[in-house]
């Protein structure tokens, strides 16, 4: 589980722990560091590893589940969900979550909507560079 080293939180961040953990998990999932149906560490393990209240960790997983990034199997724990076909109604929520994260990051770079949108079209191959 080398990817766990990528799950980091910053004690100096102004953002709540819950938010930091949630975003860190989303990042590793979106970055493809986890396989479809890969089992995630238990709440017990994460609480001990990070010395975080188990209630916080449980909320992290339930929020990720709600946004369609992971799913629960009764009595067995949480698993990664990559397959968009399996997402059903969650698919829409996941798109919103991804867009929000993407938008927040681009805002930090100080680009406006039009520039970001043009670049996205370019990346998606919908627009040639000569159109710039």
């Amino acid at each position: 589980m080398e990817w766990l080293n990528e799950i980091k939180v910053d004690a100096r961040s102004a953002l709540p722990l819950l938010h930091q953990f949630k975003e860190a998990f989303k990042r590793v999932i979106v970055a493809g560091l986890l396989r479809q149906d890969e089992k995630l560490p238990s709440i017990r393990y994460l609480a001990s590893r990070y010395k975080v209240h188990p209630n916080t960790m449980a909320k992290v997983y339930s929020h990720l589940e709600l946004e369609g990034f992971i799913y629960a199997r009764a009595g067995s724990g949480y698993y990664v969900r990559l397959d968009p076909e399996g997402l059903g109604e969650d698919k829409d929520q996941r798109l919103t979550a991804l867009c929000r994260e993407f938008w927040q990051k681009t805002r930090q770079l100080d680009y406006g909507f039009d520039e970001v949108s043009a670049r996205l079209q370019e990346v998606a191959g919908l627009k040639g560079e000569e159109d710039d």
């Binding site: 100096r12 001990s48 209240h53 188990p54 209630n55």
Partner: protein, 270 residues
């Protein structure tokens, strides 16, 4: 779970609290910190029912009644309990006193404490482990921990915190830590209470506090929010500000936040 209403308390002529109001909510984890002599341990003893207020009242939630001492686990640094008994005799005694079905001996097993040893022959760390074992066995609904965690070595501290986390996962527990050092519990607490001379200087959720305190380095401190502390460092001013939207600067961790609040108090005179 526990509510203090207009609580006054003095040791003889030395007034500690005069009219303190405080509510501890169920399942919350709170850190009480402050300057030495601010009344932290006294506050914990009042909550535990070990000390009684001179005036005002302390109200326990019905879940803790009729016998609050059964449901409130109080772990203090002044551990004198049963000093002439052996560890095993202490466990037996405690089991009978609180009618406990099965004692929680996991910490004792991890730490290989000799059960035939007398309590007064144990090291401070070992006594703390025995005390935690007794208290966890009670399946408390409230746990009041007075400054003992940082007297433990790194391994014992890990054992205690892990056992506490396991407990927190399996049942509802309200926890209060009284600590001057808190680096390894800072992700565990929801609420921070900073005491000064028997008054509550800060009582805020950790998330809110972290979003409201920032520090920076500049020619002079920005003119927004409240300046908690500033000091000259190598020709520049390091500032800490507190406000609803403090803006520029960087975030700070809990230790730095508490230090900044306390620094301000030293400056104003204690």
């Amino acid at each position: 779970m526990i509510e203090l209403r207009q609580v006054a308390f003095a040791y003889g002529k030395k007034k500690i609290f005069s009219g303190l109001d405080l509510v501890l909510n169920a399942s919350e984890t709170t850190l009480i910190t402050g300057i030495n002599g601010a009344g932290k341990s006294t506050l914990l003893r009042l909550m535990a029912g070990v000390l009684l207020p001179d005036q005002g009242e302390i109200i326990y939630h019905e879940a803790l009644m009729p016998r609050p001492k059964k449901w409130i686990g109080f772990i203090s640094d002044a551990l004198s309990l049963y000093s002439d008994l052996t560890v095993q005799e202490t466990l037996n005694f405690h089991q009978k006193m609180f009618a406990i079905d099965e004692m929680d001996e996991s910490l004792l097993e991890h730490t290989k404490i000799d059960r035939k040893q007398k309590i007064n022959q144990l090291s401070i760390g070992q006594k703390t482990i025995v005390h935690f074992s007794l208290i966890f066995s009670q399946r408390p609904k409230v746990l009041l921990i007075d400054e003992v965690i940082h007297g433990l070595d790194a391994y014992l501290r890990q054992c205690v915190i892990d056992r506490l986390l396991e407990f927190l996962e399996n049942q509802e527990l309200t926890v209060v830590f009284v600590n001057l050092n808190f680096h390894d519990i800072e992700f565990l607490v929801d609420r921070i209470i900073l005491l000064k001379n028997g008054d509550i200087l800060v009582d805020e959720s950790l998330d809110v506090l972290k979003s409201q305190v920032r520090r920076g380095l500049a020619k002079e401190a920005p003119k927004r929010g409240q300046i908690l502390w500033q000091r000259r460092l190598g020709g520049e001013t390091e500032w800490y500000i507190h406000g609803e939207a403090p803006g520029e600067g960087e975030g700070v961790n809990l230790t730095e936040i508490v230090a900044a609040f306390i620094a301000g108090e030293y400056k104003h005179g204690l």
